[in-house]
């Protein structure tokens, strides 16, 4: 589904990703872990097509299409979704209206009929029921005055409505207490399926206890320095990232 080969990317001339390789198949959950400054969030932003980042080498293909050549909106319509670490507030636009506009942009692209307000309200109700949340967020302006937890929940609600093929969660657990992490993880679990893949970018393993990955990769210094399964995440939790830095240095040395 997603094939990342020797990806180099940076911002304003500073290279941050220095040769990332990753292969994601449908149905898989990949965790990308790493210390601060390792390039994890950059990787998430580059996959989603943030225009500030420049790809300087390597390739990224998604279902055979060259992602690097696609704008953020084209990637989204192709089925890629990024749950932002810091979602921005859009004043004056309700969540419901925003979600309807976004969903219709995707549907239009797929040659499907756009949903009117009533049909969309029905769909939204079903999604909320599915993840067990009330509708308190949907009539407020997008992320405007939302608490940290509400913003993260809102990202997951968008995921639920847009039903991407590949969802990238960028530090969705950061700033949340353990109950909120569980709640968010439980919601995301509802959307795990054979056709849908996830990339979970996180500093800590705790969200992975509730959303178990098939593969765990450690990013350090802009490269994947180690890959494994959940055991690797637990090891990182026990030993910290300094251990990895040593291992990586040994590999490089």
């Amino acid at each position: 589904m997603l094939e990342v080969k020797n990806l180099h990317a940076g911002v304003e001339g500073v290279e941050i990703l220095k040769g990332v390789d990753l292969t994601v198949k449908p149905g898989e959950v990949h965790a990308i872990m790493g210390p601060n400054g390792s390039g994890k969030s950059t990787f998430a932003q580059v996959l989603a097509g943030h225009p500030a980042y420049e790809v300087t080498g390597g390739s990224v293909t998604f279902e055979g299409k060259d992602l690097v050549e696609m704008d953020a909106d084209e990637r989204a319509r192709a089925g890629i979704f990024l749950a932002f670490q810091y979602p921005v507030a859009i004043r004056g636009i309700t969540n419901a209206y925003f979600l309807q506009s976004a969903l219709n942009a995707v549907r239009k692209d797929q040659g499907l009929e756009e949903l009117d307000t009533l049909d969309f309200a029905e769909l939204l109700e079903k999604k909320l029921e599915m993840i067990g949340w009330d509708d308190s967020l949907i009539h407020r302006a997008v992320n405007d005055g939302f608490s940290g937890g509400e913003k993260k929940r809102n990202e997951i609600l968008q995921l639920a409505v847009l039903e991407p093929k590949l969802a990238i969660l960028d530090e969705t657990d950061s700033g949340l207490d353990i109950d909120a992490v569980k709640e968010v993880a439980a919601a995301v679990n509802r959307f795990r399926s054979e056709d849908r893949a996830f990339i979970v970018v996180t500093h800590y393993e705790r969200i992975l206890n509730y959303f178990t990955p098939d593969h765990v990769h450690v990013l350090a210094g802009g490269k994947v320095v180690m890959s494994g399964d959940m055991k690797l995440a637990l090891e990182l939790e026990a030993k910290g990232y300094d251990w990895i830095a040593g291992e990586a240095a040994a590999v490089a040395g």
Partner: protein, 444 residues
């Protein structure tokens, strides 16, 4: 200011126009009004048109208005097309309450004044000068003061007609009172009108008003409007003001509100039209516990220019005011916003918040925002904030990452600026109309 081939200055021309006005159609006015007009034209003769050396007029040059030879408009014929247009503009069906004006003249046949609630009055100021002489004399020109703005003085000099609304003590309206000022630029060459409106709400009165200025076609004309709104103790009034003049027209205005103890006033102000517009909004909170909200939206394009010069005066303690103005400027349009807040000595426990956000959709669009806080009391809370700039790249990326094209994302973000103010409109039909205006601007 003298133009080549024009022996008289603009000021002299208006003084001459006043003399013929005072000698003709306006001669039936009561003595007190004649006196006010005389002193107003004397004041204008002294000051002339405002000029950019005055601090309050630094960003707005009214030379284009002074340079045109505007003449007081005659009352045009009411054609079937005008009748239809008026009907389309007004809210509600047969049961509505509406006073309609055409080029500054009250038009009874376009108005709907039947079935007003007991004691409620709506109609023309000219008629009210006779029918409600005492009330009009008590209030007219008392709040919007000639010395504060030469164009207000000019308005006072040319008082002849305009809107009049009165809501008696403890009466709460079910339906809005509508004042519609239509402009028919085709009816003459360079016409002008100075509609003067007085709105009085008694103690405990409540309701909403819609004051609209709408062009029926394109052309050069000048509307110089002054509206005074007086709220008795504990009155609660919402006013929606919509300016949709021709993009070749000039619109200058003063909207003045005066509030007694415990009253609640809300103005939601929309500016879409005119090549050049300037609106002074002055709100005086002169009774304890009064609350005032001023919301505004300007959406301009082409070479349009607007200037909103707002003053909130907290004269008594425990008053609250909320000001929220958004501007969206495209092409070479320009918006000026001044938010002056005065807290008088003794006006303790004032709570005032002012926000002005400006979105610049093109590199040549421009916005100027200036807060002016004058605080003479020590136990007050006054905050202000302003933003201006293009659409934020992070916002665009966020929306695009959800599948919206760049264009759709820009439209949605721009619409958000408008819809924030539309949310303050509590009349559904009006909100729909304005929503349509905002959407038209997006696709334009």
């Amino acid at each position: 200011m003298t133009r080549a081939g024009d022996p008289k200055s603009a000021t002299e021309r208006y003084v001459a126009a006043f003399e013929s006005f005072a000698g003709n159609g306006a001669s039936g006015a009561p003595g007190w009004l004649k006196t006010k007009r005389e002193s107003a034209i004397s004041r204008f003769a002294e000051t002339g048109f405002p000029h950019s050396r005055l601090e309050a007029w630094r960003f707005t040059d009214v030379k284009p208005i002074a340079g045109e030879h505007f003449v007081l408009a005659a009352k045009p014929e009411v054609s079937a097309a005008i009748r239809q247009a008026a009907d389309a503009q007004l809210l509600g069906g047969a049961e509505r309450h509406a006073a309609v004006f055409l080029n500054g003249h009250f038009v009874p046949e376009l108005s709907s004044l039947e079935g007003l609630p007991q004691g409620v009055k709506l109609g023309s100021l000219r008629a009210a000068l006779e029918s409600d002489a005492k009330l009009v004399e008590e209030h007219l020109t008392r709040y919007a003061r000639d010395e504060r703005n030469p164009l207000t003085a000019l308005s006072t000099a040319f008082i002849s007609d305009g809107g009049f609304a009165y809501i008696p003590d403890d009466v709460v309206l079910e339906r809005p009172l509508q004042l519609l000022f239509l402009a028919d630029p085709a009816s003459g060459s360079n016409p002008m009108w100075h509609p003067r409106t007085l709105i009085v709400a008694g103690r405990g009165a409540g309701g909403s008003l819609v004051e609209s200025y709408v062009a029926l076609g394109d052309g050069t004309y000048w509307t110089n409007a002054v509206t005074e709104v007086v709220l008795g103790e504990h009155a609660k009034i919402d006013t929606y003001r919509v300016q949709r003049e021709s993009v070749q027209a000039y619109h200058t205005a003063t909207t003045e509100s005066y509030q007694a103890r415990g009253s609640v006033f809300k103005l939601v102000n929309f500016t879409f039209g005119a090549e050049l517009s300037r609106q002074d909004i002055n709100a005086v909170l002169d009774g304890e516990g009064a609350d005032c909200t001023l919301d505004g939206l300007s959406m301009l394009e082409g070479r349009q220019h607007t200037d909103h010069h707002t003053t909130l005066e907290h004269a008594q303690p425990h008053c609250t005011s909320w000001e929220y103005f958004n501007g969206v400027f495209d092409d070479r349009a320009r918006g000026v916003f001044t938010g002056r807040i005065i807290v008088r000595p003794g006006a303790q426990q004032t709570d005032s918040k002012q926000t002005n956000n400006n979105l610049l959709l093109s590199e040549r669009a421009r916005a100027d925002s200036q807060p002016q806080l004058e605080i003479y009391a020590d136990d007050v809370k006054c905050t202000h904030g302003a933003t201006l700039g293009p659409i934020d790249d992070e916002h665009l990326f966020y929306l695009q990452s959800r599948g919206l094209s760049r264009q759709e994302a820009r439209h949605l973000l721009t619409y958000g600026f408008g819809s924030e103010i539309l949310e303050a409109v509590k009349l559904d039909r009006l909100k729909e109309q304005l929503d349509g205006m905002v959407r038209d601007r997006l696709s334009g």
